[in-house]
């Protein structure tokens, strides 16, 4: 046996492991560079961010974050000198560029919109998805396979193709540029994922639990509430995070159907501009704040990731 294991796939040799490890680590490091660059740029001053050659070592500054959250106007040095002492770090930084803070920017409201729409639609999608998944998992539904395919197929529609009639429909119903309209839309897109994922999770819970509960006198509904739901908590949580990530990241519908009050962060961030073009440190700051929740969720989800991205087709 020792003769063959030297080049066996069953137990890779230490040499093979070393080469594989080196390549994987190199790939991981290279692929993470753009993200590190976003993070680094968010702490650069505007001149540092567009320096040639690109600066790897620089004096960190939170000017990007100041610019992200404020709007500024250019003033004469005389006017700025006539003002009282600067009220904070941002105020001081902005004055060095001959500007004064004119007010808050739209970033915070857009970010709050993202939160409301993402959490609202996730709650609705998971609620509807859990009920449907239980229905499909436990009962004989006529045409169940066709209905499940129908539910999945709605996910395959190109968003722009759906957006044209949705745009007209929302205009008629007064749902254009409203959080409610976006929540309904994202719920509809996410519910297909929720049904498919949760059906997989609920299929894995033995029916015997409910049957035992029902013999003890629980109704079907009580059995669902007291035995199935607690067992499905992990699955429901994982599904919720997937729905949340989709709604958080969505751009096409948001860009076409919202413009003001209900606009989310993804269509807003690219519009952050400074004087003479894009204000890259501010864009990087917005991007960083926007990405951090997703990074946390990815790490929480890593065991369920495969299941989520394949609609439950592949389970580890």
């Amino acid at each position: 046996m020792s003769l063959t294991t030297a080049h066996s796939v069953v137990a890779p040799s230490s040499n093979a492991k070393l080469i594989a490890g080196t390549i994987i680590i190199a790939y991981a490091l290279i692929s993470i560079v753009p993200l590190l660059w976003i993070f680094a740029t968010s702490f650069k001053t505007p001149p540092d961010s567009i320096a040639y050659p690109p600066k790897i070592v620089f004096q960190p500054s939170i000017e990007g974050y100041c610019n992200l959250f404020t709007t500024r106007t250019r003033q004469t040095p005389e006017y700025i000198n006539s003002l009282g002492p600067a009220t904070g770090f941002c105020d001081e930084t902005v004055r060095k560029r001959n500007m004064v803070i004119a007010g808050p920017s739209n970033f915070l409201p857009r970010f709050v919109n993202s939160l409301i729409i993402a959490f609202g639609s996730t709650f609705c999608a998971v609620f509807l998805g859990t009920l449907s998944a239980y229905g499909f998992s436990r009962f004989k539904v006529p045409l169940a396979d066709d209905l499940l395919f129908f539910i999945l197929s709605t996910r395959f529609m190109p968003p722009i193709a759906v957006a044209i009639p949705i745009y007209l429909m929302y205009r008629e119903l007064g749902l254009s540029d409203t959080a409610l309209g976006m929540i309904l839309l994202y719920t509809a897109v996410n519910v297909s994922l929720a049904v498919w994922l949760l059906k997989g999770f609920i299929d894995e819970i033995p029916r015997e639990y409910e049957e035992a509960a029902m013999i003890d006198g629980y109704t079907r509904l009580q059995a669902f509430w007291r035995t199935v739901l607690p067992q499905a908590t992990t699955g429901i949580a994982a599904t919720a995070i997937f729905c949340l990530i989709f709604a958080w990241n969505e751009y096409a519908f948001a860009a076409l159907l919202t413009s003001g009050t209900a606009q989310t962060a993804p269509p807003f961030i690219p519009t952050i501009i400074g004087e003479g073009g894009q204000d890259w440190p501010a864009v990087a700051a917005g991007t960083t704040i926007f990405l951090v929740p997703i990074l946390v969720f990815t790490i929480l989800l890593r065991k369920q990731l495969l299941r989520g991205i394949t609609f439950g087709a592949v389970r580890k």
């Binding site: 753009p34 040639y52 449907s132 309904l184 394949t310 580890k316």
Partner: protein, 315 residues
């Protein structure tokens, strides 16, 4: 309280009667649970779809809602099939889909195979590799514009450093030849981890005893790879390819922010054409017809996808 009483009654009554008293029958409950989802999808997906089908036969323009709508029959469809720009957009899409899938499959499978060597710390590095695919393609795509900036962008700087081309000449987004590759690079960067993760599941699904049997038969590593590893992982690779194929066929967000279809229309994939027709030229009827054609194409792909998915599941 009411539940309790009903329960006690139910316990004391014979089975057929008990079912009635316990409230909703299983069949009723099934529909009660499933119908809200179906209704929502009918309202938000299917009704608009039928509306789009109706519009596709008309000359309706969404920016002129008061104009009289004329029925054009199949004229919109005929014009699309004869429209040079549409065919160019379809070719651009095909080029984009072909190269992204080829690169992602080759790199993704290789990475999965290497991770499956189970070196120390592979779980940690796998998680790091997975990060790009979880991020918003729009927000990250937007930032790649900065990386691609000539001279000041990191990507351009590295390219000019390695190749010796003057940094101002590395114009990934404004060069007609390079722009299609600029979007392929970003898409590959983002989605290779996706293909990798599915391939990894495929590799891990292969039972060890098959390799052990091959060892007994003294099959070479090369032979083992071609006769065991690849065929057994193939359904998984196909699954990943189909999924990426569908997603990239309808690609919009990343390309819209990175190039907006430009320079000219060199990176104008189908979804960008659709957006320009529908929301810039406001040819609602015409673009609805194009949307229906795209939808039918995606639906066909989805059908194949579900069949393949069931095959993978059966294993």
């Amino acid at each position: 309280m009411l539940d309790r009483t009903a329960d006690n009654v139910a316990r004391a009554t014979p089975e057929p009667l008990a079912k009635k008293i316990r409230g909703i029958s299983d069949k009723g409950l099934a529909w009660l649970f499933i119908s809200p989802t179906i209704l929502l999808l009918l309202a938000i997906n299917i009704f608009p779809l039928f509306w789009a089908i109706y519009l596709s036969f008309t000359n309706f323009r969404a920016n002129r809602p008061n104009e009289v709508v004329k029925n054009l029959g199949l004229a919109n469809y005929q014009r699309i099939l004869g429209d040079q720009d549409i065919w160019i957009a379809m070719q651009t899409t095909a080029h984009f889909v072909f190269w992204t899938i080829l690169l992602q499959t080759v790199i993704g499978f290789t990475l999965a195979w290497l991770i499956d060597r189970k070196f120390r710390g592979h779980a940690f590095w796998t998680t790091i590799i997975l990060v790009p695919m979880m991020l918003s393609p729009a927000v990250v795509g937007n930032f790649w514009r900065f990386l691609y900036e000539p001279q000041i962008g990191l990507f351009s700087y590295v390219v000019s450093f390695v190749t010796g081309i003057p940094p101002t000449n590395v114009q990934m987004l404004s060069n007609v030849e390079l722009a299609p590759w600029a979007i392929i690079i970003v898409d590959t960067w983002m989605w290779t981890p996706y293909v990798m993760l599915i391939c990894l599941a495929g590799l891990r699904s292969i039972p060890e005893y098959i390799y052990e049997a091959a060892e007994v038969d003294r099959a070479s590593n090369w032979r083992q790879f071609w006769s065991i590893t690849l065929p057994m992982a193939l359904p998984f690779i196909m699954l990943a390819v189909l999924f990426r194929g569908i997603e990239n066929f309808k690609m919009f967000d990343m390309v819209n922010l990175l190039t907006g279809g430009g320079p000219g229309s060199t990176t104008e994939v189908a979804s960008i054409t659709l957006k320009r027709q529908a929301f810039e030229s406001w040819r609602t009827g015409y673009s609805s017809a194009f949307a229906i054609i795209l939808f039918v194409a995606v639906f066909g792909l989805a059908n194949i996808y579900v069949k393949a998915l069931n095959k993978v599941k059966q294993r």
